[in-house]
């Protein structure tokens, strides 16, 4: 029997299989880790939900320590630099410093998800297929904040309709 991919200790009794636009993603989890991630299995967003849930259950101290050493891979701005000037270094910083930015954006603005004009060559808010692709990429790269926002956009665009296939082999 396969071991849980998260804790590596318990036996994997939950098999998550998701098919998104022809792409198949699979995860093998033990019951505890599945529950820790808040797995929900009936909206087709189960895997994304799980990964997002897992992120919020992470150890806070570990997170804080990692954030202190945080620097943007694109422009090398460090968290300390951002804190000093309140200005970011490059577009990629929005992902790098997502954890810092989320509460700031909620405080400053009337919403935390963009509504309005987009450049013609970009992913539109209602382009659900493209959004799902972006979500899969975000989940794979463990960009939890971005994944959560994309999940909200997809929900808004589809009215929460299920579309992925998820099976639960819990014994």
């Amino acid at each position: 029997m396969q071991k849980c991919q998260i804790c590596g200790k318990k036996e994997a009794t939950v098999h998550l299989k998701q098919v998104l636009d022809g792409e198949t993603l699979e995860m093998f989890l033990c019951k505890e880790c599945a529950q820790k991630g808040g797995l929900s299995i009936d909206t087709g967003l189960g895997m994304a939900e799980f990964v997002i849930g897992l992120a919020s259950a992470k150890d806070k101290e570990q997170k804080r320590r990692a954030e202190e050493e945080l620097s943007c891979p694109s422009c090398h701005m460090r968290r300390a630099d951002f804190k000093k000037t309140s200005r970011l270094g490059c577009p990629a910083c929005y992902e790098t410093f997502a954890a810092d930015l989320s509460p700031m954006l909620a405080e400053m603005h009337r919403g935390t998800t963009h509504v309005g004009k987009s450049p013609r060559d970009s992913v539109g808010r209602n382009d659900v297929a493209a959004l799902r692709k972006a979500l899969a990429a975000a989940v794979a790269a463990q960009r939890f904040e971005e994944a959560a926002r994309l999940r909200d956009l997809i929900r808004a665009a589809t009215g929460g309709a299920p579309s992925g296939a998820v099976s639960d082999d819990r014994q």
């Binding site: 970011l88 270094g89 954006l105 009337r110 935390t112 963009h114 987009s118 926002r149 994309l150 956009l153």
Partner: protein, 356 residues
């Protein structure tokens, strides 16, 4: 002076040829950045210069900007910087820029694009009076054209990505300049400002961020740029400004009905100083001219028009004053020449009710 030619066309943010009343001007600004480039505050000089070149070349391809002037900030003189600031075409921050920044300015002064200010592109359209929707449409179409030649940094969840998180999303800051001299006199000004802040709007003085509301001239703008569409932002601002205008009109009406002598006194004092003082500072000039502007609206003053006062508000500012007299002036000289200038312009102006 490079800017002299543009200034000669006389089409600034404040109307020089017609009345606009309580709403002096409207402005819509969009912040945009290019993909895969560091923001201007973090990028090195070489990177800024490369981007500046790319951005200005893109501007030249936009039909609306076909006859636009491209001003390299490295070569711009002090006086030109002052003039551009006073005409609300560049920010105080941008006036300090040198290498790696440029200003693209349409011939009619309505469209100004700052390249490498806080963001790669700060595009604005500005015009006299209350015209938010038209101003938005102008800059929106310039933005759509620019988009054909540049790749913007944009995320489906956070919208247009900007150097400062306060601008992310729509990157839109819409503002309206209003003349609230009536509310000042009735003592309701501070309460009105608090009300605007509570409604989520930013309130600034005549000279932008951090400036005092001299003469009751305030710029009202949206604070939030994320979570609302551009139309929603504009409509909400417009609604609040319209209410504010009614509020101001009522204050003026109350003044005339119940406290005419106070209004008459304040306007008379302003006119007397403007006509007879020998030294007037730029701040004092704004206060006095603003009171006079109220006097014209309340029909207490004759011999000068609102447009004439608008022109004085512009020309009494340091840069414009020096341009008018054709030479650099130190502070004392400016205060003296300013007094001369307004006294001359107000030669035929007088309070309508003369004492018997």
């Amino acid at each position: 002076m490079i800017v002299n030619d543009l200034v000669k066309h006389q089409n600034p943010w404040i109307s020089l040829d017609r009345e606009t009343g309580i709403v002096v001007s409207s402005r819509v600004r969009l912040a945009r950045n290019l993909r895969d480039h560091a923001f201007p505050g973090w990028a090195g000089e070489k990177e800024r210069e490369r981007l500046c070149l790319e951005a200005t070349e893109a501007c030249r391809k936009v039909p609306r900007l076909a006859d636009a002037a491209v001003l390299d900030m490295a070569g711009l003189g002090e006086l030109d910087r002052e003039l551009l600031k006073e005409r609300h075409l560049i920010s105080v921050e941008f006036a300090e820029r040198r290498e790696g920044s440029a200003l693209v300015l349409s011939r009619d002064e309505h469209i100004a694009i700052m390249v490498n200010e806080e963001d790669h592109l700060r595009m604005q359209a500005i015009a006299p009076g209350l015209c938010l929707q038209e101003t938005w449409r102008e800059i929106d179409s310039v933005d759509t054209e620019m988009e054909k030649h540049l790749r913007y940094a944009h995320s489906p969840t956070l919208g247009y990505l900007t150097a400062c998180p306060t601008n992310v999303g729509t990157g839109l800051r819409a503002s309206v300049m209003v003349h609230l001299a009536g509310l000042r006199l009735t003592g309701d000004f501070d309460r009105a400002m608090k009300g605007l802040t509570r409604l989520g709007l930013a309130v600034r003085g005549l000279f932008g961020e951090g400036s005092e509301a001299y003469g009751g001239m305030v710029q009202v703008s949206n604070q939030s740029t994320l979570g609302e569409s551009e139309q929603a932002i504009l409509e909400r601002l417009l609604g609040i400004v319209q209410d504010l205008v009614v509020h101001e009109r009522n204050a003026r009406a109350r003044l005339v009905e119940r406290n005419r002598i106070v209004a008459l006194d304040q306007v008379s004092r302003a006119l007397a100083i403007l006509k007879h003082a020998r030294l007037i500072s730029s701040m004092e000039a704004v206060e006095l001219l603003s009171m006079l502007r109220l006097g014209v609206d309340l029909k207490l003053v004759a011999g000068v028009s609102e447009a004439g006062i608008n022109e004085m508000l512009l020309m009494t500012q340091p840069g414009h004053l020096q341009m008018h007299f054709g030479r650099k002036l130190d502070l004392k000289e400016r205060d003296r020449m300013r007094a001369e200038f307004v006294a001359e312009r107000l030669r035929d102006a007088d309070v309508v009710e003369r004492r018997r």
